[in-house]
């Protein structure tokens, strides 16, 4: 018996540490998807409820379906094309062969963001409307290369005489290919197909550029949910995605190593059947009905409200989500999307009007506008409400833990209080951060005066050593976990978080603050403005608006709906802003060329030590 060399314990520890580094975050994610708390950081017991929630969230399911449909189709098309290309190049003895091979590397090495931007530009140029088709095209385009290289690698190890032997034994070229070459390539083809499937399922960057109406994929949906706060639902669906990806990769690996056994074949077959039936299941019912495409922030409309509209009118409402006003602008500017209704924030409405991307509303078709609170009408970005009607209103303020901070908080200055050093969070948002500093200094939060902006920058620099985090997505989580005691915050997420911990307060600083209105607008490129008007009118109905608000927990300026609101919303801080504070508050406006100054100063703040 030969003596086995023992692995050094140092090496074992090192290896363990490496795996921990790789997998600890994923493990935490999976564990917390089973946590009986909205909080990501505190364990409160085991539950399946987030999985149940995820599976009753129609938007998530639709996104999952879209993702799977695209992944299945991408896999089929890319595998076919990539394999054919590999075979063609393998047999081609031309002088340009190395060049052709190099061209297949490009889609892999070119940054995804470049591919995404190039794709959307190209689709715009050839006049293709963004939708499921363009996502499919883009996915196929980047997937072919992977198939090409995996199949090429296998082909290179394949004895070309095997096919000759088949010909020699009486098989014509077609039969030789089917009986000999294809079965020998099958493991590589299957492995590359599975790889392509997971790549397509996971892709975010390229997809976010080329996705249009009816094509919000799961990663896009998850990413856009960040704007309104991450819930353990996301953990649940991510865990499922992760597990299925792992299973697929394991199967791919097995096939690559051991060849296509009967077991793998049955497994892959079952997976495929399941996927296809699920992916196509949702589409059959929607055939042939009028469709309304809505592009909106995630968690910004109650699924029950949408469902009732669909039932009442027979119209299919496709809800797509996005994660920033700038992303919305980019999509509309590219001129390749066909959305009928969008929900831009105040300052973006102004920009969209100036860019001539919106169409005037036909107010006679929106009689329910009479329920709107005048406070949210005739605002500076659209003084006559020609292009927009308010959907939600909100406010930036300060949220804090009353159990950690005893004295009442009432000023932006409290975010500069050295006693809370390391317990302060600011929004990771250039305009909001400057708004706090400018208001503290007594200036307009839309200031374009370089002198004032410099002072604001100095304030932010002075504050930086005290700040624990700049975070626009998870400030509610930071407060709930106690990692942060006081934070610049938006109202909606804090109102929700209060359900978890009543020791959470939201106040509007006396110096005045940012007022926010998100608006219902119809793009100039809308295909069904008639349905969009009908839907706007429906959303402004007091009963509908109340149901909507009670679910999403954002406030709408709907005066008639107020009596129907749940208690948390009745006590919304927006209702109790003192008149003098309201006078000092402003809507964000486009600051024009001063944006460059904001950018430079914000960068200075962010990189300061």
């Amino acid at each position: 018996m030969s003596e086995r060399r023992r692995t050094s314990p140092v090496l074992m520890v090192w290896m363990g540490a490496t795996y921990l580094f790789l997998y600890a975050p994923i493990l935490v994610l999976a564990v917390f998807s089973l946590n009986d708390s909205r909080l990501l950081a505190v364990w409160r017991g085991f539950t399946w409820k987030w999985y149940k929630a995820a599976f009753s969230n129609q938007l998530l399911l639709d996104a999952l379906r879209t993702s799977l449909l695209i992944a299945v189709l991408t896999t089929l098309v890319a595998t076919l094309l990539g394999t054919s290309a590999a075979l063609a190049v393998e047999r081609w003895r031309g002088r340009a062969r190395p060049l052709v091979e190099a061209l297949f590397v490009l889609p892999i090495v070119v940054p995804e963001i470049v591919v995404g931007f190039a794709s959307v530009t190209f689709f715009g140029w050839i006049g293709l409307r963004l939708g499921l088709g363009t996502v499919l095209l883009a996915h196929v385009a980047f997937s072919i290369s992977y198939v090409f290289f995996i199949v090429r690698a296998r082909l290179a190890t394949l004895d070309p005489r095997l096919e000759e032997a088949a010909l020699d034994l009486g098989a014509d070229p077609w039969r030789a290919f089917w009986r000999i070459t294809l079965p020998l390539l099958a493991p590589a083809i299957a492995a590359s197909a599975l790889l392509v499937f997971t790549l397509s399922l996971d892709d975010y960057v390229i997809t976010s550029f080329v996705a249009g109406a009816g094509a919000t994929t799961l990663p896009m949906r998850l990413y856009s949910m960040i704007k309104t706060g991450i819930t353990p639902e996301v953990n649940a669906i991510s865990t499922l995605l992760l597990v299925s990806t792992l299973v697929l990769m394991a199967v791919a690996f097995r096939i690559e190593r051991r060849g296509m056994g009967r077991g793998s074949l049955i497994l892959v077959g079952l997976l495929l059947c399941g996927l296809v039936s699920f992916a196509f299941g949702g589409f059959a019912t929607k055939r042939g009905r009028a469709e309304l495409n809505v592009l909106i922030w995630s968690n910004y409309i109650a699924p029950s409200v949408v469902r009732k509209f669909e039932e009442r009118t027979g119209i299919v409402v496709n809800i797509e989500t996005y994660d920033s006003n700038e992303a919305l602008l980019a999509k509309l500017q590219a001129g390749v999307v066909a959305y009928d209704l969008i929900v831009p924030s105040d300052y973006m409405v102004r920009i969209l009007i100036l860019e001539n991307l919106l169409q005037p509303l036909d107010l006679t078709r929106v009689p329910n506008r009479r329920h709107l609170d005048p406070v949210a009408l005739n605002l500076p970005f659209d003084p006559t409400n020609t292009y927009s009607l308010p959907y939600t209103r909100g406010v930036t303020g300060i949220a804090y833990r009353t159990d950690k901070i005893a004295e009442p908080i009432q000023s932006w200055a409290d975010l500069w209080d050295a006693r809370w050093r390391g317990r302060i969070a600011m929004l990771d948002d250039m305009r909001e951060a400057f708004a706090a500093a400018l208001k503290l200094l007594g200036y307009s939060l839309n200031s374009t005066d370089p002198q004032q902006l410099r002072q604001a920058r100095d304030r932010l620099l002075a504050q930086k050593p005290l700040v624990r985090a700049y975070d626009s997505a998870n400030f509610d989580q930071l407060l709930l976990s106690g990692e942060v005691w006081i934070a610049q915050a938006w109202d909606g997420q804090i109102i929700r978080a209060r359900r978890e911990n009543p020791n959470l307060a939201f106040v509007i600083p006396r110096e005045g603050t940012t007022l926010i209105v998100d608006n219902l607008c119809i793009p100039r490129s809308a295909r069904r403005p008639d349905l969009a008007h009908e839907f706007i009118n429906y959303l402004l109905d007091p009963v509908v608006a109340a149901e909507n608000m009670n679910e999403i927990m954002y406030l709408m300026p709907n005066a008639s709906a107020r009596p129907l609101l749940r208690e948390e919303l009745q006590r919304h801080p927006v209702f109790s802003i003192p008149p003098d504070v309201l006078r000092k508050s402003e809507y964000l406006q486009d600051v024009g060329p001063a944006t460059l100054l904001y950018d430079r100063y914000w960068t200075e703040v962010k990189i300061a030590r």
Binding site: D159, R161, L162, E164, A165, A166, L167, D168, L169, G170, A171, D172, R175, A176, R179, I180, P183, L184, G259
Partner: protein, 363 residues
């Protein structure tokens, strides 16, 4: 077509790859039931010729006939010849049974017929019971037999074998040589085998064809080619030979009078034409005897030389003897009490051989 048709007939086949000529005007016939070997160094074009016959390459000029039928324009899968490839090229994803049945399935024969013939073929190559094995589980020799069965099961007009034994180790190679010969006799079809191993060629062939530089050098029975090589290349490639330059003194009655290393020798031309005043002759090293003293007998050729080198090879000893400008190779079997053992380097010796051992080569 009146004459008995040969299994394979190649007429004036030329094959070029760019500027390289792989085959130049090669003509060759393989009789029915004959074992013919193509012998040549690597790069001589022998494998190309095999591929042209199989249909895997198209000749630039010339025709290929199988059983009298012109198949030059037929694809490989329409030709009734099958190939045993170098390293066998078994289908790795098919088991032994499926490998052997592959060609029969292409003919869409009934399943029972296929089963019967596969069983018979496996029995022929002594692999009955190996049906469910996979190629990677087999030894080199067993893979070789599967490759043979796979081709033979189709009862081809002729079997083409490309260096079939090259991948086997020496012991197995000898065994498989006998096996190949047995198989060929049993099935009675023509074998055309490519090899660069001269011993293999001599042992197996009914006839052998020496090929070099894309040209056919000589074709004949092993004895004919060995004993009476036509060119210096054949003489030295098939076995070894001492090639001497000689001056032609006179010609009479199919004989020639040559001046060889200062001696005048009468040799038979064996029907070969001899032009000009100079000639090349070859003498096989084993036909030369070493003597310490000259013999009195006059019909032997005798040359005086000095021993340069001795190489003991177990079954024989190789000597290098300096005779004038030539370094002559002499091999003697090692028999007990062989006098040659006594010779030392630098010793003066006499080389003797019979006049019949001299072969006049064509220029």
């Amino acid at each position: 077509m009146a004459t008995a048709t040969s299994a394979i007939r190649v007429e004036g086949v030329t094959k070029r790859y760019g500027v390289v000529t792989a085959l130049e005007a090669v003509s060759l016939e393989v009789e029915r039931g004959e074992f013919l070997t193509l012998l040549g160094p690597s790069g001589s074009g022998k494998t190309t010729l095999l591929r042209v016959i199989a249909g895997l390459e198209r000749p630039d000029e010339g025709r290929v006939y199988l059983g009298g039928e012109d198949v030059t324009d037929l694809p490989p899968y329409r030709r009734r010849v099958h190939t045993v490839f170098q390293q066998y090229v078994l289908f790795p994803h098919l088991n032994v049974y499926k490998n052997v049945a592959f060609g029969l399935e292409q003919k869409r024969l009934p399943r029972r017929e296929i089963e019967r013939r596969v069983a018979a073929a496996l029995e022929l190559v002594r692999l009955s019971g190996y049906e469910r094995r996979w190629p990677h589980e087999l030894s080199g020799g067993e893979q070789q037999r599967v490759a043979l069965a796979r081709a033979l099961v189709l009862e081809p007009e002729a079997l083409l074998l490309d260096e079939p034994l090259a991948a086997l180790d020496l012991q197995l190679r000898k065994e498989m040589q006998r096996e190949l010969k047995r198989l060929q006799r049993e099935v009675g079809i023509s074998f055309l085998m490519v090899t660069h191993d001269q011993e293999e060629a001599l042992a197996l062939s009914d006839r052998l064809a020496v090929i070099a530089g894309g040209r056919l050098q000589q074709i004949g029975t092993p004895r004919e080619v060995y004993e009476n090589p036509e060119t210096a290349f054949v003489a030295t490639f098939l076995g070894s030979a001492n090639v001497f330059e000689a001056e032609v003194m006179a010609r009479e009655n199919g004989d020639a009078l040559l001046a060889l290393c200062g001696r005048t020798v009468r040799v038979s031309l064996n029907g070969r034409r001899l032009e000009g005043s100079r000639a090349q002759v070859a003498v096989r090293p084993e036909k030369i005897a070493l003597r310490a003293r000259p013999l009195r007998k006059t019909d032997l050729v005798q040359l005086e030389g000095v021993i340069e080198e001795r190489l003991y090879l177990g079954d024989a000893t190789h000597w290098r003897v300096r005779v004038g400008d030539h370094s002559v190779l002499v091999t003697e079997p090692n028999r007990p009490g062989s006098r040659a053992e006594a010779f030392r380097d630098g010793q003066r010796v006499f080389l003797c051989w019979a006049r019949e051992s001299i072969v006049v080569l064509s220029q």
